[in-house]
């Protein structure tokens, strides 16, 4: 694929009415509302343009796209003039040519003539238009006033701003407003003095710019240009693939020179992102070629031994023999595996298949255990399917948006921008979050209600909302009667109308004024299409699953399920959380969420896999760790996960890893878990392999190899080698064959194939005979389980309570520039925005403790202690502190407890009672961490020096 694609000038319009007009003698029929420019482009007539692009609303400033319309005076701009029935349009005439040439002459008179050395050479719209209009001379000279000496802003790590090349078309300003919704850019000054300005005439780095790249993408010249393009030149080809960061799953074109990525460009045809991106997916890919990558297999007998570099065959044979030895000595169930949401569907499928078929047990789990496992349980129980109900596009039809325990502008930024666009169009917003997240108040967006609840009281709040809906007669009786289980509903109704669930009764517990809850409930129930979006602030609680079911109850009671604009939407943390769960990564479920005790399902897999399968559930991750400490679990194969950093109660995790006899880690870096490993199998980044990811809207998107794996193997090949060495044969030659097997065995994937993905770009499951091109909206006519199931969701306060010794509640979250454990983003220039985790604390809590902004503070819980630098901010409420968990040395999980969701054991990351006090040195854990980490890096270096 080339690197240039057709820009139709203005956005697509949809209308039931069609309009026919004549353009340059050709009859053209388009939807009403389409611009003449777009109608012409769709008919194959290209009208010159500079300020127009099909990702932005028309602006009509450049005056290049003028046309003639029979019967109309003058020369209207084709970008801002909509089609009308019977119009006769001419896009070319001598008069138009003269005007366009004159306009271009003016532009070029204030533009450097350095095309041959310009970074945009060969991919510059200004250059193209000069050629199209036949510009041959510039009569005005260059002696007059101009902007050619304007200084270049290189402050951003990823792109430059060179105002000398700017034609003030406002595409960047409009992209920042319309596409991203940040409003960081403006046109400063008037007339000839007009210049693009970031913030208040600041450098880009000092402005509100979030480096999403929308302005760079929109720029028609080299004014805003990627530093990678300046350094390397224009790409020669592009490959469409899927981002490896968050659960939005953006489609990108990897623009390539040979096997080197020049830049990542958001794909306008991408169904999840429609041409938008964030700073991570757009720019933060440097980790893929970082010097820390390990590309050779390694083994060692003890974690205190130096690593020994070995061949793939030696490493695989050693791992397999160790697993078999452990099973022979301690039982078949003494080993297991962990899959990752950072791996493809095909890879996770193979790992769980290896565990079930080669290990012969169900001891397989995935990192969704620590994030969205309650979503799987809660939505399966209430609605019948372990997945969100909508497509991202659905938000465009929402009238009320409720965001619970999620921070979309940081955690899911591209969808956050879509949401903000809808809010700017007038949709109402309800935020339920202990913190004042950006969405509560951002340019042209203001929440109607911010229910600033105390951490741990989610279920009380959702019950209070439902109580208001039911007691004030705001529920959707016809929907409930037609679609839901009457017995279950009656039982739930009796429970929810009890005065103990009223906002007034729960106010002292939740900290939310009752009137706010009543107002929010009324808005949600009566405001039109109401949608719920939620994140880990819902799931990572001792009542995570209860809260998910409470959300489903609320959606069903108000009839907000089964059409566009509504629904229950879990915002998945990592790119393939949905997919890794779909693929049977949980210890109790085979692919497609079918319980291992189901004989018919088991027989289906036994037939395909030619092996007898265990009918009993296996161990979850925390159970594996507990079992390791009691000696009944001694070997583990971990693909792409870093439980020593990401899982709660770090000391417990590392003690369990130390207790095991064979820890095999497959990863791209020597992560924190790999420091406890005996076998290291090098992994491949998303750029180095083929496969698919499934995003938060159930969208299966292709991951395509754009460069050879640095270690020589794609991850699925490594799992296959291990399985073969264990004596269970796997003989796939390409991931497409793995997907074919998944489709044969999984009803919701029955219609999925690589050929279809190639043809359609992506597919939302269920994709089968009934829905051959996928299912954007679920539960349309009936719930997957038949009748919707209301569940009684009694509020049970967490056992994690504040006390005189631990008077504050710590809650955790992510930041825009960093991603989860940070293994990827910490190895990119994104550290300029966030180079350490900090503790947010309210000014009043800081003052009584004598803590000043920037001070080191000890954060002590019942589980442990760590030291962070303090940030004093009113974003958190008094009594609540907050931190991120992107840096291992921060030890955020040293202080989180072993409390977990009652149904799934998802850790209660969001509620930890702590004390905070000024300190002058690292915690004891941090000292031990540094010592151990230094030892491990030295052992790695010793191996490397031996090889050298």
């Amino acid at each position: 694929m080339g690197i240039r694609y057709i820009d139709l000038g203005t956005p697509v319009r949809t209308s039931e009415r069609e309009v026919t007009l004549e353009i340059d003698g050709t009859q053209v029929t388009v939807p009403e509302g389409t611009s003449i420019m777009r109608a012409a482009a769709e008919a194959g007539f290209s009208i010159p343009k500079l300020c127009a692009t099909d990702s932005l609303e028309p602006f009509g400033s450049c005056r290049l796209c003028l046309v003639e319309i029979e019967g109309r005076k003058g020369f209207p701009a084709s970008c801002t003039t909509p089609v009308a029935e019977g119009l006769v349009v001419r896009t070319q005439s001598s008069a138009l040519a003269k005007i366009r040439r004159n306009v271009m002459e003016l532009y070029i008179s204030d533009h450097p003539l350095d095309c041959l050395t310009c970074s945009a050479n060969g991919n510059c719209e200004l250059q193209d238009m000069a050629g199209v209009v036949g510009l041959r001379e510039v009569r005005y000279g260059y002696e007059g006033a101009n902007h050619l000496d304007s200084p270049k802003d290189t402050s951003n790590p990823y792109f430059t701003f060179d105002p000398s090349k700017c034609i003030v078309c406002s595409r960047c300003v409009r992209a920042c407003e319309e596409t991203q919704g940040t409003f960081a850019l403006t046109i400063d000054g008037r007339g000839f003095g007009s210049v693009v300005s970031a913030g208040q005439n600041e450098d880009f780095m000092d402005s509100e710019c979030v480096s999403c790249g929308a302005c760079v993408q929109a720029c028609p010249t080299a004014t805003l240009m990627e530093k990678s393009v300046i350094e390397k030149g224009q790409a020669e080809r592009s490959v469409v693939t899927t981002c490896a960061y968050c659960g939005v799953g953006c489609s990108f074109r990897a623009e390539m020179q040979g096997t080197e990525v020049v830049r990542m460009v958001p794909n306008k045809d991408g169904h999840a992102n429609h041409g938008h991106s964030c700073v991570k997916g757009r720019f933060a890919i440097g980790y893929a070629t970082h010097k820390d990558r390990i590309t050779q297999p390694m083994i060692r007998a003890s974690i205190h031994d130096p690593w020994k570099q070995v061949t793939w065959d030696e490493a695989i044979a050693h791992a397999a023999s160790e697993f078999r030895r452990i099973q022979a000595e301690h039982g078949r169930g003494a080993v297991g595996g962990i899959t990752s949401s950072r791996c493809t569907n095909e890879e996770t499928y193979l790992v769980q298949k290896l565990v079930r078929a080669a290990f012969g047990n169900n001891n397989v789990d995935t990192c969704a255990r620590v994030c969205h496992s309650p979503t799987g349980y809660g939505l399966k129980t209430t609605l019948g399917e372990s997945a969100g109900t909508q497509a991202f596009d659905s938000v465009e039809k929402s009238d009320v948006i409720m965001v619970i325990g999620a921070n979309p502008t940081d955690g899911h930024p591209v969808f956050g921008s879509r949401m903000k666009r809808r809010l700017r169009e007038g949709a109402k917003l309800i935020v339920i979050d202990p913190r004042t997240i950006d969405l509560v108040r951002s340019p042209h967006v203001s929440a109607s209600y911010h229910l600033k609840l105390r951490p741990g009281t989610n279920v009380a709040v959702v019950n209070a909302l439902a109580h208001v809906v039911m007691t004030e007669g705001l529920w959707n009786e016809s929907f409930v009667e037609a679609r839901c289980d009457g017995h279950a509903f009656a039982k739930w109704r009796d429970f929810i109308v009890d005065p103990q669930n009223s906002p007034e009764a729960l106010e002292s517990e939740t900290g939310v004024p009752a009137e706010q809850i009543r107002g929010a409930a009324r808005l949600f129930a009566t405001g039109g299409n109401a949608a719920i979006y939620y994140g880990l602030g819902v799931t990572e609680h001792s009542q995570g699953s209860t809260m998910v079911m409470g959300i489903a109850n609320l959606a069903m009671a108000t009839g907000n399920i089964g059409r566009e604009g509504v629904g229950v939407n879990p915002l998945r943390g990592q790119n393939n959380v949905q997919g890794s769960c779909d693929m049977g990564s949980f210890p109790h479920e085979l692919p497609g969420y079918r319980h291992v005790s189901d004989q018919i399902t088991r027989q289906l897999f036994e037939g395909e896999w030619s092996v007898r399968l265990e009918p009993e559930p296996g161990l979850r991750i925390p159970n594996m760790l507990d079992a390791a400490l009691d000696g009944s679990f001694r070997g583990i194969y971990i693909e792409g996960e870093d439980i020593a950093q990401s899982d709660p109660d770090t000391q417990h995790v590392t003690a369990a890893l130390e207790a095991m006899e064979c820890v095999v880690v497959q990863d791209i870096f020597l992560n924190e878990t790999a420091k406890y490993a005996h076998v290291f199998l090098p992994g491949a980044t998303f750029l180095e392999k083929n496969g698919t990811f499934t995003n938060a809207e159930r969208r299966i998107s292709p991951v395509r190899k754009v460069m050879p794996p640095l270690c020589g193997k794609e991850d699925w090949e490594v799992t296959q080698m291990l399985s073969n060495a264990l004596g269970y044969p796997m003989n796939y030659s390409h991931p497409s064959e793995i997907m074919d097997e998944i489709a044969r065995l999984t009803p919701t994937f029955a219609g999925v194939s690589y050929d279809k993905l190639e043809r359609l770009g992506s597919l939302q499951w269920p994709c089968n005979a009934e829905a051959p091109e996928g299912t954007p909206t679920m539960h349309v006519h009936e719930f997957v389980r038949g009748k919707g199931n209301f569940v009684v969701t009694r509020y049970v306060p967490t056992e994690e309570r504040t006390s005189r010794k631990y008077p504050l509640i710590l809650t955790t979250g992510r930041i825009l520039s960093q991603y989860n454990v940070g293994a990827q983003t910490r190895r990119t220039p994104n550290v300029v925005w966030h180079d350490e985790d900090r503790l947010e604390i309210h000014p009043s809590d800081a003052e009584v403790r004598g803590v000043r902004d920037g001070d080191w503070v000890g954060v002590r819980s019942r589980a442990g202690e760590t030291v962070l630098r303090a940030v004093i901010t009113e974003r958190v409420q008094p009594g609540v502190v907050y931190t991120t968990f992107h840096f291992p040395e921060s030890g955020a999980n040293v202080i989180t407890t072993d409390n977990s969701d009652w149904a799934t054991n998802c850790p209660e990351y969001k509620v930890t009672a702590v004390q905070v006090e000024p300190v002058t040195q690292p915690s004891e854990w941090q000292k031990r961490f540094r010592s151990f980490s230094d030892e491990q890096l030295a052992l790695l270096a010793r191996q490397e020096s031996q090889e050298a």
Binding site: R332, S545, G618, L619, N623, L629, D630, T793, W902, T904
Partner: protein
Amino acid sequence: MEIQRLVKMANDISRFFEAEPDHDEAVKGVLGHISRFWDPRMRREIAEHAAAGGSGLTDLAREAVSRLPPVTEARTA
């Protein structure tokens, strides 16, 4: 496994099902959940603990656990 961790897990499950107004349904709920989601070695250990008096278990958890069918020596043992 450390029995107190299993006791805590069983109690957490029981606190959800305590909201069920029908006691038999509540017991079935706890029993079904543990049966569907707990590895056999965990079930065996909690059952043995319940048989020995079930110290620390809630009444509902103890009642449900005591009804767990015997864990046959699974192939995973």
